[in-house]
Each structure stands twice: as C-alpha cells, then as structure tokens.
C-alpha cells in the first residue's frame, strides 16, 4: 500500500473512533430518554431494541477500529452480530410475555400506569400478577395466545 494512504489512515483512525463513540453515546442517550418518556412497556421496548442496539453496534465498531484489523476485530464482529440478533429478540420475548400476561397497551383515551407520571393503577389490570382481563375488553384478542404454543 502507498505510504501516503497509510498516513491518511493514521490520521483518520482517531477521528473515526471519536465519531463512532460519540454516535454510540448519542443513541444510548436517546434510549434512556425514551425509557423515561415513553408511556408503557410496548413503547419502551422500541427504545430498548432499536436505539440501544444501534448504540451498542457503534461502540463495538469503535472498539474494532481502535484494535485494528486482526483476531480482535473478528471477535468484535461476532459480538456485534450477537448483540444485533439477541437484543431485539430479548425485547420481543419480554414484550410477548407482557402481552400474554394481559398488559393493556397505551392508547390516547386510556392512559395506563407508566411509573414516571400519574398512574391509573386502580382502573387498569396492569399490575404484575393482576387478573387476566375478560376477552375482548381491554386488549386485542390473539388466537391461541400462548396456550398451545411451545
């Protein structure tokens, strides 16, 4: 490789690390703000599965750029692939368990408990361990919700 190209790479590498770290911190901040501002667990799962995953991928890319090409970057690429697959999968599993347990989703005309602002805990079956709502009252009915599915 040309020596001038190597010189440009040596100049650009710290700036690339800085930009990737700054993007990671920005998207993680977006995730934390979303966790505090969004109204219910289904909306917060968006902050968990999208913003936080993107922030994690950017930070792992920054670490890979800092390590340089080699076995470490390969290991970081595997770690990034794992985070990319498992982060949204875990959020999906948790949200699906919440839906199967009968947590009602937030709507404009029926606010549910969010923990940060005022709660309507007395009117909604949104406590953990609360009774499952009657079919067709509060939540969208799903065929065979978790009963016969492994």
């Amino acid at each position: 490789m040309d020596a001038s190209v190597l010189g440009y790479l040596a100049v650009a590498r710290p700036w690339a690390v800085l930009a990737l770290v700054a993007g990671s911190v920005f998207f993680s901040l977006v995730a934390v703000v979303g966790f505090y501002r969004l109204p219910d667990v289904y909306a917060r799962a968006h902050a968990a599965s999208k913003s936080e995953t993107l922030g994690a991928l950017l930070a792992l890319a920054a670490a890979a750029v800092a390590f340089g090409p080699g076995a470490e970057s390969l290991k970081l690429a595997l770690l990034a692939l794992f985070v990319l697959v498992t982060g949204p999968t875990a959020a999906h599993a948790v949200v699906r368990s919440a839906a199967d347990a009968g947590t009602p989703p937030w709507t404009r005309d029926r606010p549910v408990a969010d923990g940060g602002h005022e709660t309507t805990r007395a009117t909604g079956p949104d406590r953990p361990g609360a009774a499952r709502p009657a079919p067709g009252t509060a939540r969208r009915e799903r065929p065979a919700s978790g009963g016969d599915r492994r």
């Binding site: 040596a10 770290v21 990671s24 934390v32 667990v41 670490a63 290991k75 794992f82 949200v95």
Partner: protein, 95 residues
C-alpha cells in the same frame, strides 16, 4: 506525549464513562417501572451497556482478553431476559 491528536484511549474511556452513567440513570426505570416487563427490559439494556463498556475498556487498555468476557456476558444477558420472560407467564412460548 506524542500520540494521535484525538487520543484514542481517552475517547474510548470517555465513551465508556458516558455509557456507565447512562446505565446508572436507567436503573431508575428498574426501580419505578410499574410492571415486571419494564424492569426486565431495563435490566436487559443495562446488561447490553455493560457488554459495550467491557469491550470499550478492553480496546482502551489494549487487552484482547476482555472481549471474551464481553461475549460471555452477552450470552448470559440474553439468557437472563429469555428466562425471566418465560418465568413471568404460565407456560412457555415467548419466542
């Protein structure tokens, strides 16, 4: 000190510090999240931030062995979320 101008180690450590602070801020949602899935998702995100911080500190200190720790921690984090989400409902079938 004649390193590169934006020092790479300092940038990585500053990013790790910011991510630790954001994860600590997220623990508030673990405390006041009204339902159990809120807490599980928040703990999952804190674990993801921990994986990233381990990788960043490993890159800043030049320790490739930290990446194995981060990989194992990511596996345990995923298993924690899946296990808790299967535990909170009656039967399986969350995936």
């Amino acid at each position: 000190m004649t390193g590169p101008f934006p020092p790479v180690d300092a940038a990585l450590l500053a990013g790790a510090t910011a991510l630790v602070l954001l994860a600590l801020a997220l623990l508030g949602r673990v405390v006041l999240g009204p339902t159990t899935p809120d807490r599980v998702i928040a703990v999952n995100v804190v674990g993801t931030a921990t994986v990233v911080v381990i990788a960043l500190v490993g890159a800043a200190l030049g320790e490739p062995g930290f990446l194995d720790v981060a990989l194992v921690y990511a596996l345990l984090n995923f298993l924690l979320s899946i296990g808790l989400s299967k535990f909170t409902i009656d039967r399986g079938g969350v995936l």
